[in-house]
Amino acid sequence: MKNKIEENALPLSKRLQMSKTLRDIFTSQDSHALKIAFDALKSKMAISEESLESDFNRYFIGPLSPIADPFSSIYLDNLDQVMSKSTLKVRALYETMGFTFPQQNQIPDDHIGIELDAYYQLLYIEEVKNIDYLRELRHYFLHEHLNLWIPLFIERALACNEEPSTAMVYILTQLKSFLIRETNTQGVPA
């Protein structure tokens, strides 16, 4: 992973920071990385790394059927499938945006973490680099893709009434308000 951002001295705007944090939460692979990303949300919640990950796995990872699978195909195409039509549509979008995905065909392109990564990087070139070339594609991505499934994903995850996790509810609420803010601003720089 390239981390050019770390070298960059410019402070990130709030929305950029939030998209990055949400991305880092959903792409974390261990409890430590998850905890760091979660703490960046500034929830003031005291939760151990282990409990946080256990809840996170129960909600989104497995090995038991997660409460809400984090792939668009589940909500747009078929309840039980990854790598289907909407996955390939997102793939085509990434390609048109100038991205490659080294883990293509290993991690579904429409995994929420990958989609948030795309959104964050698109915001970044607009906000930090002042390049507008992909602005229209970002709006399309937001309105014609992210908004079609992430609200359903959040709804399903929040509907969990068996041992609901405060930490997961917090993450989902942050994700929801991020999406609402992005939708309402129509992508106008904050």
Partner: protein, 758 residues
């Protein structure tokens, strides 16, 4: 709206628009401005706009590795690295372009969101549901440390046990046993819950289990499908049966259940469960009395016909045969005589029939019926049960040497399973074998040393084995349970570590069948999704970590390529048998073994070299030289319960997939209308089915497809449902199995239950 949907849609679908857009993108400086993440800038766009439009299909050769007669040869269609659909291979006259309903769902299986994706550790203890994602390296290090700890404490690796069975019959999957061979002398759950009594029976009679090519059945003049339901469970065999029927052959189904196959037969004969051997003996008596037996063949090829005849004359009374089997005597006579007159005639025996306390004896009696009529060793004839004659691979993945200085078991050595046997000289030590059909009990009782680690692969014991409560206790007392699987199931629930396993589309392998005579290459068609690995890659990674901790502690290669592993399985014998020069020819499609009619040369691998009606080996091992009638287990509760295979699943596989759940969402108990009326149960009522072993609650289906006094439930695993029919089954053994497979089978269908409406 700050975007035009139409414009972006055009960009995505129109190659020229997209190309122009990407040219502009490269010029805009976007590529060098992306901050980077999991997605990276496509630097190629700076120099040349690559083709990014619609991709064409690539095709791959695959095979279905499930425990199924049909072992389909498959052609897989992949676009842009994503599996799109599969077809049955056209090149195989057996698969002939079509898969079954289960096979057709493979894309759904590979891309099921329910698949296990990452190695996970159950941090809250077995059954806690608190899972932590761990890296493969961490998982293997934890396991390697435990194994080495066992060796250090006990001085042997016998505290490590493997239970693996039929989840994947690909040849390189014997690398799982290879992994256990490579760490030392270990404990194995040995034997087979499937077909062992029949294997022993056929070996006693003919010195082998070797069926005729099923494709020959099209030329059979008389086919008895005895306790077998190919209309559900071997659909590719149906075309031969239909063709024979069309040409005038009689197709008779003998089964306690009116099956899908029965509905397609010329004649259906409903027999009382567990009395098939007696029917076969009665038929022989009628045939011999009518002098319709093949004396010439018998003289030249058999041993003990005289003794058999004396037994039939003396002990088999036709009125009793009729009474016990529940079949009118006239019908038995007509069946016997018409079978004897038709040449060639064949009998296909299902595996359910031998899952009785008298199962092996019944297979022997039916073998004898085929032999008496001179149909053994004949084209389109034969006593069909199965074969392993095309399984002569190298078993390179299996044959791993023990680490130097390994210490093992010094008790008596037995057979290790029906498929692959490790050759070689007799060693000072052996592995320790526990009966797979008594897994819970054997694990609980193991001592000197106690089993402390259990590795489960290609198997879902909680959905398939007996006595869940004991099994939970057995799992809980183990230091470590490792479950390698594709889906999360109840076995995984009681694991410490789960490892996500590749499907056959994500690895290379080679496959043959225990029924037909085709050989199929299985090519890796797609990248393994998420972090799944093939079983042999898991073994290699374990070896790496064991050797890192203690050099020389594991002999398995530390890195493997599944393609190279597959190539190592071929040998000149396989090439000659299948008429190919190289495995690479299989890329053009599956090939069939050169035609051989089993036993046509009159050579049997029995002690006498002949077909043995009278077998001294049988006398020594099982107390009866002749295929005498042995009464089935006595009822210990009100109703008999049978638990055959469903067409929607294969043991614990497939039923969890969406398509199968749509058509068959929950388990049912099938009850005869007379019994239902007596118990005041209506269609759709929830009933409790119970016995001394356990209790299951499920919906009732009322049908006279099952006879009065018998209830039927399919053996299956349902996602999100703890149904396991084997909770009602005790682990009473069938009569045979220990001779060739290491342990007797289980008398699954000699289970008795009662039921009531809830």
């Amino acid at each position: 709206m700050s975007y035009s949907k139409e414009k972006v849609d055009t960009l995505l679908h129109n190659g020229i628009s997209r190309r122009n857009f990407l040219k502009g993108l490269a010029a805009s400086g976007v590529l060098s401005s992306f901050p980077g993440g999991l997605l990276e800038a496509n630097e190629d766009l700076n120099t040349k706009i690559p083709y990014l439009g619609e991709k064409s299909y690539e095709t791959f050769r695959n095979a279905c590795p499930r425990n199924c007669y049909d072992t389909c040869s498959i052609k897989t269609f992949v676009k842009d690295g994503v599996m799109q659909f599969i077809e049955g291979a056209q090149e195989s006259t057996y698969t002939r372009g079509g898969c079954c309903v289960k096979g057709n769902s493979y894309v759904k299986r590979v891309y099921s969101a329910r698949r296990l994706k990452y190695p996970m550790l159950q941090v809250g203890g077995k059954g806690s549901g608190q899972w932590k994602r761990i890296s493969w390296d961490d998982a293997m290090e934890i396991i390697a440390k435990k194994l080495l700890e066992i060796k250090k404490d006990d001085g042997t690796m016998l505290g490590a046990a493997l239970t693996k069975y039929s989840g994947n019959f690909g040849i390189t999957h014997y690398g799982i046993e290879g992994m256990f061979n490579s760490i030392g002398y270990t404990t194995r759950l040995a034997g087979t819950p499937c077909w062992p009594a029949g294997i022993d029976a056929q070996n006693l009679d003919m010195g082998n289990m070797w069926c005729n090519d099923p494709e020959e059945m099209k030329d059979s003049k008389f086919i008895i499908l005895w306790g077998v339901n190919p209309a559900s469970n071997s659909v590719h065999s149906m075309k031969y049966i239909y063709e024979a029927k069309k040409k005038g052959a009689k197709v008779v189904v003998i089964d306690p259940v009116f099956t899908e196959m029965a509905s397609k037969s010329t004649q259906y004969i409903q027999i009382k469960t567990g009395t098939d051997g007696l029917l076969a003996l009665g038929m022989q008596k009628i045939i011999i009395d009518a002098k319709l037996h093949d004396q010439k063949w018998l003289d030249a090829n058999s041993k003990g016909f005289k003794e058999l005849k004396e037994y039939l004359d003396k002990d088999i009374k036709l009125d009793d045969v009729s009474k016990v089997t529940g079949i009118p005597l006239e019908m038995i006579k007509e069946l016997a005589l018409s079978f004897a007159k038709a040449k060639p005639a064949t009998i296909w025996m299902g595996y359910g029939m031998q899952r009785h306390t008298n199962g092996g004896s019944m297979i022997r009696a039916i073998d004898a019926l085929v032999a008496v009529t001179g149909n053994v060793g004949k084209y389109a004839g034969g006593a069909r049960y199965g074969h392993l004659s095309t399984w002569g691979f190298n078993y390179a993945a299996l044959s791993m040497p023990k680490p130097e200085g390994s210490v093992g078991y010094t008790g008596p050595e037995g057979a290790k399973g029906e498929f692959a046997q490790v050759g070689g000289e007799k060693a000072a030590y052996t592995d320790r074998f526990l009966n797979i059909n008594k897994t819970a009990r054997e694990l609980l009782n193991s001592k000197d040393p106690k089993v402390r680690l259990l590795w489960v692969a290609c198997k879902n014991p909680f959905a398939q084995d007996f006595d869940r409560n004991q099994l939970i206790r057995a799992f809980k007392q183990l230091d470590m349970v490792v479950v390698a699987d594709q889906f999360f199931n109840e076995t995984a629930k009681w694991a410490d570590i789960v490892l996500p396993v590749a499907t056959q589309f994500e690895e290379n392998d080679v496959n043959v069948s225990y029924w037909h005579y085709w050989l199929s290459l299985n090519e890796q068609a797609i990248k393994p999704i998420f972090e799944v690995k093939s079983d042999v890659q898991i073994a290699a990674l374990l070896s790496k970590h064991m050797n890192k901790l203690e050099k020389g502690s594991c002999t398995f290669p530390q890195s493997v390529d599944t393609k190279e592993m597959t190539i190592k399985e071929f040998n000149p014998g396989i090439y000659t048998q299948f008429g190919i020069k190289s495995w690479e020819e299989l890329k053009n499609g599956p090939v069939k073994a050169k035609a051989v009619i089993p036993y046509a040369d009159g050579k049997f691998q029995t002690p006498s070299g002949k077909y043995e009606f009278y077998s001294e080996k049988a006398l020594e091992l099982f107390g009866s030289a002749l295929p005498k009638y042995l009464e089935v287990r006595k009822p210990y509760d009100k109703f008999r319960m049978t638990s055959p295979h469903s067409r929607w699943s294969l043991h614990s596989q497939f039923q969890n997939l969406e398509w199968m759940e749509d058509v068959h969402p929950e388990p049912s108990v099938y009850i005869n209308p007379d019994d239902a009326k007596m118990k005041m149960v209506n269609e759709g009522d929830t009933v409790a089915v119970f016995n001394k072993q356990g209790l299951l609650r499920l919906k009732a289906k009322i049908t006279d497809n099952v006879q009065p006094g018998t209830v039927l439930m399919y053996e299956q695993w349902y996602n999100n449902n703890i149904y396991n029919v084997n909770e009602l089954v005790d682990d009473t053994s069938s009569d045979m199995g220990a001779f060739k497979t290491g342990a007797p089978g289980v008398a699954l269908h000699d289970t008795f239950v009662n039921f009531r409406k809830i």
